[in-house]
Amino acid sequence: MVFSVQRVIALNKPPAFLFKDIAGLHEASVRAPDTRTVEFTLPKSSSPQAFLSILAFSVGGVVDPDEVASHQSGQDRGEAWLRDHSAGTGPYVVERWEPESQVVLVANPNYWGPRPRISRIVIRHVPESSNQKFMLERADADIANDLTPEQARELGNRPGVRIQRGRTLLLVYVGMNVGHKPLDNPKVREAVRWSIDYDGIVQGLLRGNAQKVQTIIPAGLFGHNPATSFRQDSSRARQLLVEAGFPDGFSVELLTPTGAAPGGVNWADLGAKLQADLGKSGIRVTVRQTTQAELLNVYRAQKGQMVLILWGPDFPDPDGNVTPFTDYEAKSIAWRNQYRDEALARLAKQAALETNPDRRRALYRQITEKVLHEGPYAVLYQPTLVLGVRSDVRGFVWNPMGYAEFRTVTK
């Protein structure tokens, strides 16, 4: 355990920020006083709750020091070898990894817990969702996790297959760069939020494969605020624009990624829907589509005007969302939208460190309410993952952090 945590910190690759920046650890912060105890020393400025969440996440996974050392290349602590091998303590080990094709996992004979019931798991990359549906119906696949809303509806009536919904912690939102006029005006941002047909997106475009969420902590995480204050009200939006000094509306560019958005709709369709919705309030939107990699480059450089994108927390704690969405200095989402509110950032820090659950919940309530009305975001929805599962498969649970544990699965 000590080796594994120190390894992540020493490698200093992007995931190290969870231990180094969020938990405030360095290599000397972790030690094992005896064979059954691991001791972490956290600075007072780090949130114990966030740390526990990080420890339970993939970056806290334990690797075998001897195995890793025997495959070390230079100073990489086995990183290159671990790209297609495993040396962990989980119920499965990697038998084979074929890039762009499949990963084959087999039950770990040395697993410390009960041996998993399925001895071999094959995870295949099937980019076409219609093929996933074909394979599921022909029983060539047991689980399909990339179905469109229409395919899920069709499969719902087929024998031998059931539809299982999986929660995600993703939020699909529009970021409004307050450094770009007139988005600096809170009334204009409020007008944007009143322009959007949230129910049309969730029920029409996504066919119900999403939850209407408008605050920055997703449902399922501690501190979620279920408030949905906004619905489409174009006359109210136009009134707000008049009050803000834009009776004739304004023009703005909306950046959207290419491909499919979570929930099964295309980003392009979502962008077109927003263009139509905002157009009803007099906001003339030009949609520009780029690959997600290019879009993030523009967004991170604070050069987006309005950006349609998603966010998922890096660790399952509300701080994984609240700090990025509120703290300009964290150089994340608030920074990209040039949204600077120091009082709010202090409140976020206080909430992260608060150990009393009631007080912590109250702080998050206060933060989410403030961002809902004053922030530079229009949160559109929290997508639901639609999985097609063969009827004889039992015990399959989708983890909202975006993975599944196969040790509970039987067939």
């Binding site: 200093n12 690759k13 992007p14 995931p15 920020f17 920046d21 290159a80 790209r83 074929e98 890039p99 762009e100 094709s101 499949q102 094959v122 295949r124 990359h125 099937v126 980019p127 076409e128 219609s130 093929n131 074909f134 394979m135 119906e137 022909r138 060539d140 690959t291 997600q292 990699a293 290019e294 993030l296 480059n297 991170r300 890096d314 994340s332």
Partner: protein, 335 residues
């Protein structure tokens, strides 16, 4: 002859130098930063600096190009930003799948296109000719993506006659990897179960990918054969009372081969580079999928590796076609 081949190979090197310079500078001047795309949301300044140093991105552009060319001369295409492996290693892994698919599609185009073209010419303006021309027209206009989905929907999903996407069924263990070509590796290892399964998996993608080339080969064969069938030597052969089969295959087809060979050679190159959509539809882990994923991730070393590989293949195929003329037309000499 040897001098001719040498001259052509040198010309390929010149093409390669031009393509490498062009792709290198284009990919480095477009306003997109691969570093943030590779390191993700939380990269810190020191990590970004280390990454730039590792990939030589902190140096001036001409110096970067010099390093790249030096690597090329050693067969080193650089490190892929996305997979973090040497690009040459990635190409070795992905290219065989594409060669296997393109070869199968090529065989389909020859096996169907050549006889259809010959028969069409022989039966000019008769029902078979009209039908073949109509089928060729439809085949040449059909989008491969749509055709792939239709073939899968019919022969895999509805009828269950052929296997679904991928190169092998999940319950078939792959043969030991020697060439990366599953059919050949299965043969070499005597793994008949894997051989049968790999061949069955090839049928639908090869049909989808090969349809366009089949149509082109059929049309070219028909027109070349029509041209030759009007020649005096064909009339003479018939007048001498030679069997019609011999007239068609020996006297006519052999003389019609040079233009057909050109089309067939070029179509193999097109099949190799045009497999992107087929590979996506059939979950085929080939070069097309690798190129697309690399381009979307702004993985320039990988994109350049794929481009250079294509830049070698096309002139090589042209050279092979030119050498093939020697076999089919003894009058041709290269000096």
């Amino acid at each position: 002859m040897a001098r001719y081949v040498l001259r052509r190979l040198l010309a390929i090197l010149v093409v390669l130098a031009g393509v490498s310079a062009l792709t290198f500078f284009i990919s480095h001047v477009i306003p997109a930063d691969p570093v943030l795309a590779a390191l993700g949301e939380h990269a810190r300044e020191d990590q970004i600096r280390a990454f730039r140093r590792q990939y030589g991105l902190d140096r001036p552009l001409p110096a970067q190009y010099a390093i790249y060319v030096r690597g090329l001369l050693r067969g080193d295409l650089g490190l892929s930003i996305r997979t973090r492996r040497p690009v040459a290693e990635d190409l070795r892994e992905f290219f065989p799948a594409t060669i296997e698919l393109a070869s199968a599609a090529w065989l389909v185009s020859l096996a169907i296109g050549l006889p259809a073209g010959v028969l069409s010419a022989v039966c000019q303006d008769r029902p078979f000719d009209h039908l073949a021309r109509l089928v060729a027209l439809v085949g040449a206009s059909m989008p491969v993506f749509w055709l792939g989905l239709v073939l899968l929907g019919l022969f895999y999903y509805r009828l269950g006659w052929l296997p679904g996407p991928g190169r092998l069924d999940v319950h078939i263990a792959p043969p030991p990897d020697r060439t990366g070509l599953l059919v050949l590796d299965s043969l070499l290892a005597g793994r008949w179960d894997a051989l049968g399964n790999a061949l069955a998996h090839l049928v639908l993608p090869a049909l989808a990918l090969g349809t366009f080339s089949t149509a082109v080969v059929a049309r070219m064969t028909r027109s070349a054969m029509l041209e030759v069938l009007r020649q005096d030597y064909v009339r003479t052969a018939r007048a001498k009372g030679l069997p019609e089969g011999r007239v068609l295959l020996v006297h006519a087809l052999c003389n019609a081969l040079p233009p057909i060979l050109t089309v067939v050679g070029i179509s193999f190159g097109n099949l190799l580079s045009g497999a992107v959509l087929t590979e996506t539809v059939f979950s085929w882990p080939g070069l097309g999928r690798y190129a697309t994923a690399s381009a979307v991730s702004l993985d320039f070393p990988a994109v350049m590796g794929v481009t250079l590989l294509s830049a070698v293949i096309y002139p090589l195929l042209n050279l092979l076609v030119d050498l093939g003329y020697l076999l089919v037309d003894p009058r041709i000499r290269y000096g």
